[in-house]
Subunit: 401 residues, 2 copies
Amino acid sequence: MSIPVPPVPSFPPAELTLSSVAGLRAAGVRAGIKASGTPDVALLVADVPVAAAALFTQNHFAAAPVNVSRAHLQASGGKVRAVVVNSGNANACTGAQGDRDALEMCERVAAALACPVEQVLVCSTGVIGVKLPMDKVRTGIEAAVAALSSELEAGRRFLHGIMTTDAYPKEACARAGEAVVAGVCKGAGMIQPNMATMLAFLATDMDLSAAQLQGALPGITSRSFNAVHVDTHTSTNDTFIALATGKRPATASWAGQLETVAHRLSWLIARDGEGATKVTTIRVMGAASDAAAKRIATLVATSALVRTALYGNDPNWGRFTSQVGNSPDVRNAHALRCVLQGMEVFREGEPTAFDRAAASRAMAREDVLLELQLQDGAGEAVVLTSDLGYRYVQVNAEYTT
Amino acid sequence: MSIPVPPVPSFPPAELTLSSVAGLRAAGVRAGIKASGTPDVALLVADVPVAAAALFTQNHFAAAPVNVSRAHLQASGGKVRAVVVNSGNANACTGAQGDRDALEMCERVAAALACPVEQVLVCSTGVIGVKLPMDKVRTGIEAAVAALSSELEAGRRFLHGIMTTDAYPKEACARAGEAVVAGVCKGAGMIQPNMATMLAFLATDMDLSAAQLQGALPGITSRSFNAVHVDTHTSTNDTFIALATGKRPATASWAGQLETVAHRLSWLIARDGEGATKVTTIRVMGAASDAAAKRIATLVATSALVRTALYGNDPNWGRFTSQVGNSPDVRNAHALRCVLQGMEVFREGEPTAFDRAAASRAMAREDVLLELQLQDGAGEAVVLTSDLGYRYVQVNAEYTT
């Protein structure tokens, strides 16, 4: 069967990347782990130990690198010299050998930098259930250490070294006075059998403590990476690491600046959902609490019926509102207003006499906004979702081993 | 684009149907509500008031007939003479006029039977947000009253009168000594824009009180209709009604006999999922509690990644087990065993060396069993799910108005 592949979107490269952050160097090299021959070992190194914080997958089957990084972050007290990443193999569901391999990756970087092993974090992404090809990983780490540079291109190579099935590189940046915030990530749902993982790296040269970073990360993540629904699977390797090198004074609004960059990265992930043609922002307002709003928005965002309607540019108020009606968090459902791309389509329990053709045309855009307004309180939330089309089925059903 | 339509399965007609139950008569007539010209007004009548119980949708946007039936069941003390159903229009999101129309349907049946209006229940299924064509409904009710019969064919016409987008009629029956249990239902996910609803009707001639029926219904439903996941949308009109005419002595195992019939009906609904090619039974064992097991099974059953893997006959242990790993209800994930069609594919945190080709062949069947065995306790649950293929996207994205 011939399934049309949606055109791959392209985005202009960010002006700054991780290696633009004062005090950081980066590298990305080809070690032969990925059959594609693209870079697959990436290394980010700080000149001195810098403040670090991270959030990891909550999946019970957390991969070996997740367990090692979590332990190292704790043991180092949030002081980190390096992050080493390989793509092409997630080192997940690999037993005790997987634990030893993840640790060895840190040990080799630590030896090269002459720093304590607990100051090195490690991430892996790719196929699960297969042991790491450690000969290739060792060679890759050696080459990456030799290639470290603070040039823009070195940061770009780091980004390419973390990618797996991504259709395009994902990066974002912001300037805050003298300081910069830069971020890169990878992730596009779980394409290919057993390929997984969202990895995100955010760095700034502001002077922030590990405690400040760690305190801000849950909120930032809740409104960015954890507000994206491509296929609802949290993977074995999901990791979000933030570094602050302390070379510039922190701004008053540093957390917001980090969040802006993280939000753009999460939009790029949603846009890269398997076969997605757009990103839909589902904004719930007037819920009983922010948490209630998030649960309602998530219920709508994860519905296969909603996501196929988005793909088909179908202004299907019934699917949108009936999912709100399914939420135990809704008190007064009769008050619900549903506004699609600025057009009110549902009010007081009934559809409005809106222009369906115009609404459908308005949905055929790369950014769609679905607003769900309740009157239960002041709770708000935003969730991003990708649409679900033929290509999603193809990549998830037919690319079998 | 040309999407292959999976062959429509056919099932032998049940030996007995609702009109086979002693004390019941049925009818199904063409009233012109459905453009297809198939029967769209159905009527089930008991000779005398009989014990009745029902479960209704929990959706906040419950349709007018749901609200009327819920009130009538309560006012009548669970004594019912008739159930009137129309298909083609759900009378949902239709405001105050919708309430009046649903009530009038009951009033017209009550007048014809010379019974109190609260002894008549009403169900509607079809498009939402459109007012009922009451002239056609009135003519249909009149014709249905005139056509009432206890013959098998009359029951069959009732069944056809409740169908909307169903690919095949759904019926099941059982004999329990002298008594019979018969059931029919409609429902196949939410195909077509704004088409909704699962309706199920179960009847027995056993001597059971309304309180007995109502007491048993939640458990029966939890293990049948509420254990089916086609697209996770609960609709505005979902209704399950059970009647007991009291003509035969109740068996000791009556609740189990009702459940057997209800379970078969729910399997038929899962098999009719949009574009589904099979029914997958997800059995979770060894969870901390039955409720925990149900939540874990539901998490797996509702994953689009799992459902596309089922469609592709992909023995994707990573997707199955990572969803278990996502559940906060799991205590000891390392103990998880995953058995697919009798083949152990995952144990102690790692995939087994199973034969992928053989496992894939074993998945290409109409009934697939995925067993997830934990060691957290004695909790068990079974959930049925349909697979997700190209046809699902087509019917949900492209059949726009």
